[in-house]
Structures are given as C-alpha cells and as structure tokens.
C-alpha cells in the first residue's frame, strides 16, 4: 500500500512538472469554454426539455475525451521505458499490479481534475438563472459519475497502449485508436434496433456515447457502470501482463 501511494503521488506530481499537464488542461478548458458559449446560444433560442448537462455534453465532450485521454496516458509507461527508469522501478520491491494501479490512479485523478472547470461553468449558469430547478444535484452528480466511469475505461485503455511500447507517440496513437473504436460503436448502434437483432443489442451495451447521454440526463444505469469497470479491469490486466512479460520472454 505504501509503495502504491508513493508511486501514485509521484505520477500525479509529474503531470504538473511537465508542460503536458498544463497543455492538456488548457486545451480542455478552451473546448469547455466553447461548449459553454454554444450552450448559452442554445438557451437564448427555443425552450428545450433537455437538462443543461445533456446539452453541454452534446458539445465538445467527445473532442476533449478523445484527444486528452491518449495524451494523459501516453507517458505512463512509455517514458519510463525509454528513459530507463523502468529498470530502477522494477528492481525495487513493488509488484506489477501496484505499478499499474498507481499509474492508472494518477491518470484518473488528473483526468477528473481536468473536468473541474465544468463545475464552474454550471455553477455560473445556476447563479444567473436564479433557481435551483435549472440544474439539480442529481443530474450534475450523474454527469460526473459518467465522466468518471468512461474516464476509467479510457485511462485503462491508455495504460495498456503505453505499456505496449517505448515510444510516447506510438502509445498515444494506439490509445487514440482504441478510444475511437469505442466511440464509433455508439454511432453504429444508433440506426440499429436493439430489440430486434443481437448485434444491435451488443452495440447498445458497449456504446459509450449512449451511456454518457444517459448519465448526463441523471440516469445512472448499472449496466454502463459494470461495462466500464469490467473493461477497465480487462485493460489493466493486459497492461500488467505486458509488464510481466519481460519475465517470461
């Protein structure tokens, strides 16, 4: 536990010691700002039954996720491998699982910190709308849960991609490809009727876009939570096996 906490703290700190952390946060804030502007435009037009968060998430959300996730995770293992610190790390008495989990934890914590400005946008709206009915705590909580669970999935996939290679660029590209694949299943699921054929049913279960849509309406569906957590675990397991693989090659 001590090694896990020490490692996680160092990893999280290292995001703020390099320009990458600040660039990612700045980029995400810029896109959130754009979404906020789009939201204000929309609110000035016709009345809508959708909750604020759902409109907001329909904006630049996927842009932010698809581009920030690989950048956040690309350095986790790839940089350690290319600089050689991986060797000093793996010759200390820590297990592969501790290392993988610590890096994953640091990435998800950073990812959630990156989403904090969203809270500010929402609170500003709520203040000027002068009414709590505009935005209730449930939808906001749901939205953040959605961000967290899909974030887990994307960070775990990024960990896996980073463990595969010693080049950060390659790690980012593999991570981006996996993330894009998950994102596109949502689009494929769209036109299919989940009631009628099995492919539609499978796709609707793994469609992260649909899940985020539900979460941002305040609907917390255990199916999506189970899907995100199990696939995160799967990717973390793979990352762990890749790191272990030097011991059986």
């Amino acid at each position: 536990m001590q090694a896990y906490l020490t490692l996680a703290r160092r990893e999280l700190g290292s995001f703020f010691c390099s320009w990458i952390g600040y660039v990612v946060i700045a980029g995400a804030m810029f896109l959130m700002g754009l979404s906020f502007v789009a939201l204000l435009e929309k609110l000035q037009g016709e009345p809508t039954p959708m909750p604020l968060t759902q409109i907001f998430m329909g904006g630049c959300f996927w842009f932010i996720v698809l581009f920030s996730a690989p950048v956040i995770t690309m350095r986790l293992f790839a940089m350690e491998k290319s600089s050689g610190t991986f060797e000093t790390l793996m010759t200390t008495p820590v297990s592969e699982w501790q290392v993988v989990l610590a890096k994953f934890t640091a990435a998800i914590v950073f990812y959630m910190l990156m989403w904090l400005p969203l809270l500010a946008c929402v609170l500003v709206l709520r203040f000027f709308a002068r009414g709590s009915h505009v935005l209730d705590a449930g939808t906001l909580g749901g939205t953040y849960l959605g961000i967290f669970f899909t974030g887990c999935l994307y960070m775990a996939a990024g960990c896996f991609a980073s463990a595969l290679t010693r080049s950060q660029i390659v790690a980012a590209m593999i991570g981006f490809a996996i993330n894009l694949a998950f994102f596109l299943t949502g689009y494929m699921a769209g036109p299919m009727d989940p009631q009628r054929n099995w492919a539609g049913q499978v796709l609707s279960c793994v469609s992260v876009t649909g899940q985020i849509n539900d979460f941002s309406r305040g609907v917390v569906d255990t199916r999506s939570i189970v899907f995100c957590l199990t696939s995160s675990l799967f990717f973390l397991f793979l990352a762990c096996r890749i790191i272990e693989s030097r011991r059986w090659r």
């Binding site: 090694a3 010691c17 000093t88 010759t91 008495p93 011991r247």
Partner: protein, 317 residues
C-alpha cells in the same frame, strides 16, 4: 556467501548473452566484472537484480533465489543500472525520499536515511536542486545514493564511472572503496584501471563466458612471469648488441634510438632473473652512461587484452 551463480545462461531470440557462467562472491568483497562491450556483464547484473530471469541455471543472493524469491532479493540489493536513469524533473532530496519510500522505509526512517546518504555521497549542497540541472558527476552520485538509501547488503553498480571526467571518476572510485567496508559490492566496467584500483577480485568476461576469476595480483602473475627491462644507455651500438647477445638470461631484445647518443633497449628476460645490478655493473665497468633502468610491471591491462582478444584475431597471429 553473498552471490552464488551457477551455470547461469541467458539467451535472447537468436543469440546467447550469457553462456553457462558460474561464480561466487563472499560477503564484504568488492568484485569487478570486466569485459568489452557486449560481454554479458549488464545481462548478468540485470538477472542478479531480478529485472529479467535467466534462461537456465540458478542465481542466489544471500541464499535466496532471484526468480522465486524476487521480492526478498530486491529488498537486499541496491542496483544502479547502466547510464544511471533518474527522473530529471524531481529534486534530489525529493527523489531520494521517493525511492526510499518505494523501497519500504517508513517516513521517519526514510528521512534519516536520506540525510545519511546525502552526506555520504557529498550531495548536501545540491539537495534542493532539480536533477535535470545537475552535472553528470552529481547525477551519478544521486544514482549511487539511491542504490544505498535502504542500506542494502549487496550493491550492484553497472558502469558507475561511464562518461565522467578524471576527477569525478576518482571521487566515485573513492566512494566505492568506502562502500566496500560495509557492503558487498559488484561493479562492472570495461575500464581496467578502475577495477584494478577498487576491487579485491576480478571476473573477466567475454562473449558471455568467464575467462578468468582471480585477484588482480594473481592475474598479473599469470601473464608477466618473467618480466621486461627498459634500459637507456649511451654506448656504441655494436658493443651494446654484443653485450646483450652474450647474456644467456635474455630471451630477446630490441634497440631503438632515443635522443642524442642514447639507445633505448627493451629486454625480455627468459626467466625470473634480476638483471638490474649486472647491467649497472657492466655500465660502470665500460664507462658508459646510464639514465634509465626500470622493470616493467605487467599491468592488468595486458592480462585483459590477452584474454579478451577476439578469437579471430588470435588465430591470425
């Protein structure tokens, strides 16, 4: 017994890095692994540090197997890999503290130990500086401090003086010698003088095999049994040649012109003779001038060159 390696073998796809080596290191020894690049030194050290497993054979550190009891072994060793990788964005004290905590030291113990190794490696002045901004010599000492921070029984240093300037090499060497008083040290290098000066015992490797394993003195004896003399004499060349040819103790000789009237003679002895006094007497008798008479001690370098010369080169001779 601190290290017990027997029939260790490591092969990667297509080539063998370490082929069937065995050696032992006692507690408190400083042992040097010596060999040209690609001899298998780093692979051997990585196996001992539990970073990669061996293909076959066994390696034990303090009686524990490096593969099955890796965690226990890792607690007992301080390992500094080749090129000394560090986190350049961290500060020296912060980095050492991080490493100490990672190696399982409690908060109080880690503070104490970090202070101790900062003093031991003369890093107090730079403890608050960022590692990436330090000179190579300081960074090397940070690596050494990291290897020492949890007071390991065995310290494994892979090429600790690579890329340092002569005065930095001297200080690192001094540090290694001091470490030998309290720890067992295994150090690798392809630079000979370094090993010669610091180690009690030398293991010479080439192409994954151990060629020799002995004390530096014994290895020297192996090569330079008879010895050489260098003499610089001012004398007529013909007389000098006749003199040397009449000495039965000389195996062969060569004369090259030195400056002025002096001739530089390189004399190879045929046995363990002491020719110095006789040459001196000869010079006095003939009224020649003598300005140098010295015995050439075979350095470890010759042992090393002889043993590590690639086979193809040996055959062509």
């Amino acid at each position: 017994m601190m290290i017990d390696v027997s029939n260790l073998r490591k092969s990667y796809a297509g080539h063998t890095a370490v082929a069937d080596i065995s050696f032992q290191v006692e507690r408190g020894e400083i042992v040097g692994l010596l060999g040209p690049n690609g001899a298998g030194k780093s692979t051997t050290m990585r196996i001992l540090a539990c970073f990669i497993p061996a293909s076959s054979g066994s390696a034990k550190v303090a009686g524990m197997d490096v593969f099955t009891q890796a965690d226990e072994v890792r607690r007992r060793i301080g390992y500094m890999p080749e090129n000394n990788p560090l986190h350049p964005e961290m500060r020296v004290r912060e980095y050492l503290k991080f490493r100490a905590r990672l190696k399982g030291l409690s908060r109080g113990a880690s503070r104490e130990r970090v202070d101790a190794v900062l003093t031991q490696c003369s890093l107090e002045d730079v403890s608050k500086r960022i590692i990436g901004h330090l000179s190579k010599g300081y960074r090397q000492r940070v690596g050494l401090a990291d290897a020492l921070v949890h007071e390991p029984e065995l310290i494994i240093l892979d090429e600790p003086t690579i890329g340092l300037d002569p005065s930095q090499i001297r200080s690192v060497r001094q540090l290694i010698k001091e470490l030998g008083r309290r720890h067992t040290v295994l150090v690798s290098s392809h630079i000979l003088s370094e090993i010669e000066m610091t180690c009690n015992r030398v293991v010479i490797m080439r192409e994954g095999r151990i060629l020799a394993c002995d004390t530096p003195e014994n290895l020297q004896k192996r090569v330079g049994k008879n010895g050489h003399l260098i003499v610089e004499i001012a004398a007529p060349l013909d007389e000098l040649k006749i003199c040397w040819e009449q000495m039965p103790e000389l195996a062969h000789y060569s004369i090259s012109g030195a400056d002025g009237e002096y001739h530089r003679c390189n004399l190879a002895l045929s046995g363990p003779h002491d020719l110095g006094p006789r040459i001196f007497a000869l010079v006095v008798e003939r009224g020649w001038k003598l300005r140098e008479l010295s015995r050439v001690r075979h350095s470890l370098e010759e042992v090393y060159i002889r043993l590590t010369r690639p086979e193809s080169e040996e055959e062509s001779r």
